[in-house]
Amino acid sequence: MLRAVAQPAPATVPAAGQPVVDVRNVGKVYQNGTLALSDVTLQLHAGEFVTLLGPSGCGKSTVLRIVAGLGKPSSGSVAVDGQEPEAARRRGHEMAFVFQDPTLLPWLTVRKNTELPLKLRGVGRKERERLASSAIRLVGLTGFEQAYPRELSGGMKMRVSIARALAQEPKVLLMDEPFGALDEITRQRLNEDLLDMWQAAQWTVLFVTHNVFEAAYLSTRIVVMSSRPGRIVADIPVDAPYPRPPEFRSSPGFGALVSAVVQFLRDA
């Protein structure tokens, strides 16, 4: 429905098999001379759920920001749907970003927060309300539309943040350690809900985390990064089928996967 609002870009419609997110030999040097990323190459195909896993400060968030077009690479190239990230963003509902913190506007209600990106893009009120309602329902916050962020718990705020991303009907969902500040139980539940939503909507997800269990539970692929400078040391496909029930976390296959990934992190 919303895609119709976006301007058509016939020349750049991706051919089958072309990656949705294409990061090639990206390096990043900060102004103070710090080498943050070195030769990062990463492709995401439609419908994949890829986690970028690595220790704090390894540059995984930097990769995410570069894909989002919030930062420019010092070398190499990035394409989203065959275009520069910023151009892809301007074209329509290509990308939504979920930040580490809920990043809500405290003076807006849950509903208004969810509608904000749509409002900024000039989506009409009726359509905004429809998309926001459905996103709020999807994250399980029905009944809280008129609440203000300060009345919500940390987990609920994060749900609003996710609803805000979902309401944009993104093709690519970029998530920067969205559940890092939450307690274990809340995090697990949000992981499960996120997978349900991903299966229904079939976004391409790039998910940054430093939590091995989270990465193993969620991903179709785990990309392990090492620090200083950040580079990719392993690309591990996860074969387990979806839907993944909570019990998946205690299966032998899960344990083996986690130890393999941890080994890569240690060696890095």
């Binding site: 990106p117 999807l138 609440a147 203000y148 009345e151």
Partner: protein, 284 residues
């Protein structure tokens, strides 16, 4: 599909309203301690005047001040009205100009860097030193009084406004960029509302400063005679050693400044109670 369980209860429960009657009682109860202090202070004042036999032209007893009110209330209120008008004009002007300048400063670092030193210089120059100049330029009259009130109250609004407009959380800015927001949208929907609590910090300080400025202005413009305001009333009363009247005037000035502060505070609480910690009601 929806595995969430605990979250589906309606949010209304979180926003429990307090009964109005409970509120009135709480307020009465809250105002008891300061009232008790007031009574003790008045009694101490009276006792000291009697005990040390202080002449009334130095310190009049409380009832003499009350008498001064009773005799001159019409004149005093007239003067108070004038001062209130001057302060309101000065404060209003300071609010408009202060916000405008803060917005201008927040647009580019270069503007802020080049103009800020002069603003600070203007603020640190003792107003009492440049006030005569203002009177020479703007004339002996209300215009000078308003300008002095304005000058004394504009600075806190600018400083706090600039801080508010420029200290927006970086990721909120990124969120707006991700939504392809224009500069104008970013200003209107993010920076401006974000700066409101900061702005009110400035406005609170300025509200009482504006009253001070108006009184100072009247004090200096002085000989205006009719409608000279509280500042004028105070120097005349002091000159004539009408100390009881002076006390009454001082008390009215305090009340006026208090009223200004309260008005600003009320507006701030109205605007911010839903989202800002400074105005929130907690039920731990």
């Amino acid at each position: 599909m929806e595995r969430t369980t605990e979250l589906n209860a309606p949010a209304r429960g979180l926003l429990r309203a307090r009964s109005p009657r409970w509120n009135v009682w709480a307020r009465l109860l809250n105002s008891l301690p300061p009232l008790a202090v007031l009574v003790v202070m008045l009694a101490g004042w009276k006792a000291a005047v009697v005990a040390f036999d202080v002449p009334p032209y130095l310190v009049p007893p409380p009832e003499r001040v009350l008498d001064a009110f009773r005799e001159d209330w019409r004149y005093l209120l007239e003067q108070l009205q004038h001062t209130a008008k001057m302060a309101l004009l000065g404060f209003g002007l300071a609010t408009l100009v202060g916000i405008a300048v803060a917005v201008l400063f927040s647009q580019a670092k270069i503007i802020e860097r080049s103009l800020y030193p002069y603003l600070v210089l203007l603020h640190t120059t003792p107003l009492i030193a440049i006030a005569p100049l203002i009177v020479i330029w703007a004339g002996i009259g209300d215009r000078s009084v308003v300008i002095i009130s304005f000058l004394i109250s504009v600075f806190p609004i600018i400083v706090n406004g600039v801080i508010g407009l420029t200290s927006v959380d970086h990721n909120l800015v990124n969120l707006f960029r991700m939504s392809n927001a224009s500069r104008w949208q970013e200003f209107l929907f993010l920076r401006l509302p974000y700066s409101v609590p900061y702005l009110f910090t400035g406005l609170r300080i300025s509200s009482s400063a504006a009253v001070l400025g108006a009184i100072l202005g009247e004090y200096l413009v002085g000989a205006g005679g009719v409608g000279g305001g509280m500042g004028y009333t105070i120097i005349i009363a002091a000159g004539q050693l009408k100390t009881a009247r002076l006390f009454a005037a001082v008390l009215l000035c305090s009340l006026l400044a208090l009223a200004f502060f309260f008005a600003v505070n009320t507006v701030a609480n109205r605007l911010l109670r839903n989202w800002h910690e400074s105005s929130a009601v907690h039920e731990n």
